[in-house]
Each structure stands twice: as C-alpha cells, then as structure tokens.
Symmetry: C2
Subunit: 303 residues, 2 copies
C-alpha cells in the first residue's frame, strides 16, 4: 500500500500456495489485503485502486492471467474480477517486466528520464520500455521482449524455441544449465554451490569476486552477449538510460557494468552511445512493492 508520492505505507509478502483453484487463491489474497489494511487502520474505501504485477501473458481486456508458470490450476485466472469484487475497488494488471520498468522509472534508477529501457535479468530476461515518458506496450502487449533479441545468429537454442536469443546466453536458467555441464567439479563455483549441479549465476559472481578464473571467464561471456543486446536496443530506441536488474546489479561495476559499458561503446556510434547511462536497478528487494504501486498509479493515469 502506498501513496502517489511513492511512499510505501504498508507491505506484506507471501508466496502463493496454490489450492488448485485460482478463484480460491485470489480470495485469500484479497483477505490478506483486507487484514493488511486493518493493521494499518484503513479500509478498502480509503484506496483509489489496486495494482497487480502478474507473471507472464495476460488478457488485458478481460483481466485474466493466462497460464502462469508454477501455479497449478491458474489457467485463465480471473484476477481482476475476483479481486475487484472482494475489495470493491478497480483493479489494474500489468505484466511483471512492465510493472518493474514503471517502478524503476517512477521511483528507482530511471527517475527523471523520459526514455528508459529496463531489463529484468534473473531466471529469464524480460524488459519494459518507457518511451517519451510513457509505458510502451506494442501490439498485443508484445513489446520489450528484449530477452529474445538475437545476439548470435543460429546460436544456442533458447527455451522459447528460437536460437541465439540474449536469454539463451545471459538468462539465469540457461546459465545454470551451462554451469551444470561446464563448471569444473573441483572448482570454486562448484564448491560455493555445494556441487556444480546446484550452481547459479550468484555462485559465479561470488567466485569471480575471489578471482576464480573460470568464473571470470563466465562473466566475461555474459558481459559480451549482454552488451550486444544493449547495443541493438540503443540503435533502435536511443534511450537515455538502460537499467539492468538482478544479475548485473549483484555483480556490480567492476565485474559487470563497467565492462558492459565499454563493450557497448565499441558497438554503437559515439553520437548514440556517449549520452546513454547504463545503470544497476535502484529498488533492489523492494521492487515488488513499488511495482504494485506503480501499476496502480498507471491505472489512475498519474503522470
């Protein structure tokens, strides 16, 4: 719960333990929201609307969440109707990458910019585009699939079915699969992970901080492909700022952001590249709170 100025007034986090029925689960979420309000001495009537950041594809017109991963029974979940009926408030939905982009633009590293490209970089790679000070969604909410911008033609197969996508090189899941095969069994990455079969990009970052050669090579590969994707986005969109979430934020300037800035500068014209800032995300672990608030503000038309 928050206000127009971006103050978070109350928060609650809870994983959804699916009962197998989306309507049932959504009613429980509404109950949770009511009890949070009660704790804060408020009632639903004090609020203007509800903003929901949803994973994956949704039906904007009907307010349905379509086929969310990891939520059995949630096919075509009537998110808007159930929450709206239970709370008596208008409900606005936005996909999580767009919601996070709005949050970073309104309250994080993108504040004050008009042209913002935001990349979520955890298991997969998603994106959100703020262009001319507005969220750009494209046809059928399809814009900003920056994880699938090609960075190697006829390259590695991607989970999406295509080849050579940025996500196939720099997405956390693809990277973990690569580590399971390639990380030396007796190396630092495997040791930090308790076996290379459990290795993730976080272990690579930790091992690279210790100077481990394999981990440094892996990060260099990650930076190379990330820079290619960013260069492509700069030629197309001429953003003022590119904001990188999760993995680059965790890796920091020395291991990731500075090398990426240098590589990007070598791929684009000075005219386009010199003024572009490449920044880590600013909201860290609080992005979820700000994402919901930002979707609500967007729904209210707050500029």
């Amino acid at each position: 719960m928050g206000d127009r100025s971006g103050r978070i007034l109350a928060r609650r986090r809870r994983p959804i333990e699916s009962s197998g029925s989306a309507a049932e689960d959504l009613r429980r979420i509404a109950d949770d929201a009511r009890s949070l309000l009660q704790e804060a001495g408020a009632v639903p009537g004090d609020l203007a609307c509800v903003g929901v950041s949803v994973p994956g594809p949704f039906d904007r017109e009907r307010g349905l969440l379509l086929r969310p991963p990891n939520l059995p029974g949630w096919g075509d979940a009537p998110v808007r109707r159930v929450l709206s009926e239970a709370l008596g408030l208008p409900v606005h939905l936005e996909n999580d990458a767009n919601a996070a982009a709005l949050a970073e633009w309104r309250f994080g590293a993108g504040r004050g910019f008009d042209h913002v490209v935001y990349l979520t970089m955890s298991t997969g790679i998603g994106g959100g585009l703020i262009l001319d000070g507005r969220l750009y969604r494209g046809r059928a909410d399809g814009a900003g699939e920056v994880g699938h911008v090609p960075v190697e033609w006829d390259g590695e197969p991607c989970a999406c079915g295509m080849r050579g996508c940025l996500e196939a090189y720099a997405g956390g899941a693809a990277w973990a699969a690569r580590l399971r095969k390639l990380a030396p069994s007796d190396g630092r990455v495997a040791a930090l992970a308790g076996g290379r079969e459990h290795a993730t990009p976080e272990h690579v970052v930790a091992a690279a901080r210790e100077g481990d050669a394999f981990a440094l090579g892996e990060l260099s590969r990650f930076n190379t492909f990330l820079a290619r994707g960013i260069a492509t986005l700069i030629f197309t969109l001429a953003p003022e700022v590119v904001i990188l979430g999760t993995i680059p934020t965790a890796a920091g300037d020395a291991l990731c952001l500075d090398p990426v800035r240098k590589l990007v500068a070598s791929h684009v014209w000075p005219l386009l590249g010199d003024g572009v800032e490449i920044l880590p995300a600013g909201l860290g672990g609080e992005i979820g709170d700000y994402a919901g608030l930002s979707v609500a503000l967007e729904g209210l038309g707050v500029g």
Copy 2:
C-alpha cells in the same frame, strides 16, 4: 503544398544546385515556393506553416541542418531562420526517415495503424518509428537507426564504422560495391547495367525477374539479412506493421516480400509474428510531397 486531409494542392521538384552558400540556396528555395504559390493563386499568408524533410542530422533547437552530404557549403545551414524570414511562416524540420515514416503512416501503407516501423531502403537504410500513434524520436533524435541493427556479429564492415549492420548487407551502396566485385562480367546484371561497375540493386531485381541465377542468389541474401533485422525489431517493438520502401517495393511480393515474411515468421514467436503485416511502401514517387506535408501537420500538432 497540401491540406490537412492529405490533398496535395501544388508541387514543384527541383534538385538543389548549390551556389556554395546555404543561405543563398535557401533564399532561392523560398523564391521557388513563392512562385509556386503564385501559380496556385495563393500567398504565404494562406498557409499555416512550412514542413521541411532534411537529409541527415540536424539541430532541432536551432533549426540548423548539420553537414548534409552532397551539398558543399551547407555545414550548419540555417534552414529554419532563412525560410521563416523569407516566407513569414513558422518552419518545422524533421529528418527524412522520420518524415517519410510520418507520410506513410498518415497517408500511405501505415494508415490506421498505431505502431508502425518504416524502413527506407535505398542507398542507405534509415527508419522511422510511430509508436502509440506518435513519432518516437528518442534521445537526441537518435531512435530508429534500423540500418545499424546488427544482423551478423563481427560481420561485414559498414560505412558507419561498425561491423555487421543491416545496411552493410542490404543498403544500396554496400550492395552496389559488392556487385562491382562479384557480379559475373558476362552475366545479366552486368549486361543490364552496361558493365558490372555500374550495377545497382535495380539491375539485380530486373535480372532476377528474368530468372538469372546470380541475381536470385543476391536477392535471397538480401532477404535473409533484411528478415533478421525485422525480427529483431519485432521482438523489441511489437509493431502492427513494418513498411519497406524502395528496394523491397521495387522487387515486390514474389522476389522479396513473401520470402521475407516467411523468414521473419521463422525467427519470431507466432504470438508476435502472426499479426504483423510486412508491407511495401504505399506512396511511391510521391513520398517527398507527402513527407513535407506530414512534417508540417506534425508541427501544427494535427493528430
């Protein structure tokens, strides 16, 4: 000269024969405009404003055309000031790719769409983006440099200094340079051009129509790289329509547009690709007239 509904009421075309002084040349252009108005029984006061489509980079704030190619003496040409003083009207400038995109969106193949990607494809490759029903210019007017979206990493050198740009494969000048080296001296392309040193993409299209194997191979290469560029743009922007000018328009459906549509469909998800139209430009040789009119309407804020 035209009206808000897109009727061209009078037109005159004249190459600029530079006197060596931009101000002098611009005053002659203004004289030309006055005499055109006189012929049409009008005076400058009948007009709301002047729209100018300019080649290459310009200074929007000061109304200067910077370093235009092929116009000696035109460095930092004061286009807006001279025309505005000479005609007593507000003058609006836009770069030629954006102006052509506006023209195709308002009056050509992009009519009725909200999300339009337009590619000029003649000597070089430029682009204009209409997103959410508005021209998107990006930081420092840099958006839409679609000719420099990478289509092959570490690929052919591009005239821009980078490598692997779409323009290095599918731009007319790069293609002509390739033909000078690779077109068979005794083949159809060379015969149609009067020697391969004069060969251009137009000769390739003509020879391909006759079934010439070399020309068909060249077009297939062109289509391959063009489709890569378009696929990248679709993942980023999710347009409703991609409009291709000049070479693809001349080559037509069988030789270019249909193969490109098939290739693009193989590079993007059905969700993104199925609804995207890939169309030839609609205004043909009249695009210059509509480009000027569209810049004027944009300057007036006509939606």
